[in-house]
């Protein structure tokens, strides 16, 4: 079975631009979460979506938004890019969040560089 897939792999943008990152969860998984990992840090939670509804949001500005589609894939949008948005953006999927054994499986990530 295919794992979590993300596109694109790498992206270079300039300050002020907008970016859209895409994620396809593992087949049968209905929840998608987004994380940001900057160099030297652990991943930081941005959003979680389940059944197309936002279930949680981390401490990120409104420039960050996301949505989930009927096929459970997801997009993360970041507007008005700043240099500090340069990071690895990770998508994770899980079958049903909140279960006693909810394990999130991660994709390979999208490396975003803002110049």
């Amino acid at each position: 079975d295919a794992g979590v897939t993300q596109s694109p792999t790498h992206l270079i943008k300039t300050r002020g631009q907008q970016v859209t990152l895409r994620c396809s969860p593992i087949s049968g998984h209905k929840s998608v979460s987004w994380y940001q990992q900057v160099l030297g840090q652990g991943p930081q939670f941005i959003f979680q979506y389940y059944e197309k509804e936002e279930r949680g949001r981390g401490n990120f500005p409104d420039r960050f938004s996301a949505r989930q589609f009927p096929n459970y894939s997801s997009e993360l949008n970041v507007n008005a890019l700043l240099l500090g948005d340069s990071a690895l953006y990770l998508c994770a999927s899980s079958p049903l969040p909140g279960l006693s054994t909810d394990t999130q499986y991660f994709g390979p990530g999208t490396r975003l560089t803002v110049l």
Partner: protein, 116 residues
């Protein structure tokens, strides 16, 4: 505020010996803990997990121990192999009652190097 802490940024172990990676947490509401392994240019790969109702979980060469009173968990790898060389992240989850949110809090990671 770092709720999950991995205080050792690196660990070097000889092949065949035991690797012990440590993790501390501050939030007593965390009730599910996971370890991930990460190679460069790849996403984190799930290794092993433990629920707060247990104090040990074993899967092959990997064993996770949980000490709730000390808010401490550790990952033991026996025997260590060169292919185990990677960054290991400890993560914790707080599952809100009546909610379906499962947010992960990560430590900063420990770089494990296993040398022949």
């Amino acid at each position: 505020d770092q709720q999950v802490k991995q205080n050792s940024p690196s660990l070097s172990v000889q092949e065949g010996r035991i690797s012990i990676l440590n993790c501390d947490y501050t939030n007593s509401m965390f009730d599910y803990f996971l370890w991930y392994k990460k190679y460069p240019a790849e996403g984190p790969t799930f290794l092993i997990s433990i629920s707060s109702i247990k104090d040990k979980n074993e899967d092959g060469r990997f064993t996770v121990f949980l000490n709730k009173s000390a808010k401490h968990l550790s990952l033991h790898i026996v025997p260590s192999q060169p292919g185990d060389s990677a960054v290991y992240f400890c993560a914790a989850m707080e599952r809100y009652r009546g909610s379906t949110l499962g947010r992960l809090y990560f430590g900063r990671g420990t770089q494990l190097t296993v040398w022949p």
